[in-house]
Amino acid sequence: MSAEPARLLGIETSCDETAAAVVTESGEVLSSVVSSQIDLHARFGGVVPEIASRAHVELLTPVVAEALLQAGMAGPEVAGVAVTVGPGLIGSLLVGVSHAKALALVWGVPFIGVNHLEGHLYAALLEEPDLELPAVVLLVSGGHTLLILMEGHGRYRLLGQTIDDAAGEAFDKVARFLGLGYPGGPAIDSAAMEGDASAIPFPRGLKDQGYDFSFSGLKTSVINYVTKNPEVETVDVAASFQEAVVDVLVTKSRRAARETGARAICLAGGVAANSLLRERTLDACIADGLSAYLPSRSMCTDNAAMIAAAGWWRLRSDGATPLDAGADPNLRLTLI
C-alpha cells in the first residue's frame, strides 16, 4: 500500500477547451492542463462544433499525458477517471467520454460521469474548501446563466435562469457587433476600462422581477443605439453594456441571498472572470455581511480540475457510472 493520497483523473471536452487534471481526495490540484482552441474558432466568431470535435481528438492524448506527467504519475495508480458527460456539444463530449472509458477499462478503476454545471459549482469548493453554505451561486458562461442556491453537496435549488441569451453569449454577440473580436468577454472587459459606463442608459431586462434573466433586449438596444448614433465611442458602448449586464447579475444575486438567507455569494463560469462583476459582487457582499467566493480566473473558465472535484463527490455519493452510459448534450443539473 502506498501512503500517497487517492487521486482522480478528470477530463473535460464539452466545448472548445481540451482539458485534463489530477485532483486528490482532499481537493488538492496536482495538475490542471487546458489546451484552448480559441485560435481555431476565432475567425468564425464562435465555436464551430465539427472543428472542436476534430481538435479534441488530436489534443486529448497529449493533454492527458501532460496532466499525468505534471502530477508525477504513470496512470494506473489513479482511483478513477471522471469526465464531463453533458451538457455540451455532443461530438466533443463523446471524444472525452470515449477516452475516459477506455482509460478506466485498462486501469480497472471506476468511470465517473460528471455534469459540467456541477463541475463549475465545485470550482469554488476547490479553492475554498470551507465554503459557507447555503450559498447563492451565479453560474454565468457562454452557454449558461443560472442562479442556484447550493444548500450542501449535491443539493441545489434553481432560483432562476436566462429566458433567452446566456450572459456570455450576449458579450460575444455585442463584441462581434462592435468589432472588438472573439472571445467577447475579455474584449469588452478591456475596452470598458477606457470607456464611460454611465454614457448610455441601456435597459436592465427583468432587473426587479423574479430571478430569471433576459439579455436579448439589451443586445438589440446596443445594436439600435449604435446604428442611430454612429459617432458614439465604442469604448463607451462597451462600458455601458457591461454596466447593464453586471447591474442585473449583481442585483439579483444579492436579492436572492437576502431572500433565501444564504451566507455567501459565489461566482462560477467563464463570465465570472469579468473584472467589473467580481468587483461589484465583492462590494455587495461586504455591504450585506456575506462571504464572497470569487474563483481564480483559470478556475472560472472550463477546466478539468473542477470535473475531477465534482467526480470525487459523485463517486462517494453514487459510485461508478456504468460503462454503457452515453453523453447527453442537454443534461440538466439534478435539483431538489
Binding site: 464551430v48 472543428i51 494506473p76 472525452g96 477506455a102
Partner: protein
C-alpha cells in the same frame, strides 16, 4: 502477438481480438448507432470471451474512415486512449480497404461505397492482384451520380459493396449488366478483417504512436467550406 481491432466508421460498432491464428473473438452490432455506449463494454466482453487480458494486447488497430464523423471519433478516441494506457502502438486502416477485403476474390472491379449522408458517398476502386488487392484510385467523396458516371465510362464489370451501394442502388446500377450490388451481408466493414489485415503489419512494425493517428475525414467542416467560399467571393 495479439491485436485488438476497433471499427466504428459506419452505423456498425465492431471490435475483435486475434493473432496469428486469426480472430479469437469478436463483437458486431449495427443497431441504433450507439457507438459511445456500446464500444467499451463490447471490448470488455470480447476480451472475456476470448479469455484475453487487455494487458496481453500488443497493438490496437482501428478503422480511421472515411465514415460518419461522430461515430468514427468514438473509435479513434477509444483506440488512442487504450494505446496510451497500455503503452502500445496503433495501426490505422481505411474503412474502404476493409470493405473491399470482404470481396477480394472477385475478378471484377471492386468498389466499396460508404454512405456519407447529404447525398454523397465515400468510395475507391480496387482490383484483385496475386496476394491481395490493389487500390486504383484515391479515397474520395462525391455524389452517387458522379460515381455512377465514372463506372459507366469504364465499361467494366464491377461489384459494389457497402451501405452506400445499397442506399444508392437505384442510381448506381444500370441496365448494361456491368454493375452488381453486394448484399446486406457485406455492407459494413468487419473488425475481424481489421485484425487479420493488421496482424502482419504489426509483425513488420508498420505502426504509429497513438498521438500520430489521424481520422480520414475527406471532407472539411461546414464552417471551413463556407469560409473558403466567402474568401473566394
Amino acid at each position: 502477438m495479439i491485436v485488438l481491432g476497433i471499427d466504428t466508421a459506419t452505423q456498425q460498432v465492431g471490435c475483435a481480438l486475434g493473432g496469428v491464428e486469426g480472430p479469437l473473438a469478436s463483437f458486431h452490432s449495427a443497431r441504433g448507432r450507439r457507438h459511445a455506449e456500446t464500444l467499451v463494454p463490447a471490448i470488455d466482453f470480447t476480451c472475456r470471451t476470448a479469455r484475453v487480458d487487455l494487458s496481453e494486447v500488443s497493438v490496437v488497430a482501428v478503422d480511421v474512415g472515411p465514415g460518419l464523423f461522430t461515430g468514427l471519433r468514438v473509435g479513434i478516441a477509444t483506440a488512442k486512449s487504450l494505446a496510451q494506457a497500455l503503452r502500445v502502438p496503433v495501426i490505422g486502416m481505411s474503412s474502404l480497404d476493409l470493405l473491399a477485403h470482404q470481396v477480394r476474390h472477385s475478378p471484377r472491379l471492386i468498389v466499396p461505397v460508404i454512405d456519407a449522408r447529404r447525398g454523397e458517398v465515400f468510395s475507391a476502386l480496387y482490383r484483385h492482384v496475386p496476394g491481395g488487392l490493389q487500390r486504383l484510385t484515391d479515397y474520395r467523396v462525391g455524389t452517387a451520380g458522379e460515381l455512377a458516371n465514372d463506372l459507366l465510362a469504364r465499361r467494366e464489370e464491377a461489384l459494389l459493396v457497402g451501405d452506400g451501394a445499397l442506399r444508392y442502388s437505384a442510381v448506381l446500377a444500370d441496365d448494361s449488366g456491368f454493375i452488381e450490388i453486394g448484399g446486406v451481408g457485406a455492407q459494413w466493414p468487419s473488425a475481424c478483417d481489421l485484425v487479420e489485415l493488421a496482424h502482419p503489419r504489426a509483425l513488420r512494425e508498420e505502426f504509429v504512436q497513438s498521438s500520430e493517428l489521424e481520422p480520414m475525414y475527406l471532407r472539411k467542416a461546414d464552417a471551413e467550406m463556407n469560409w473558403a467560399k466567402r474568401e473566394k467571393a
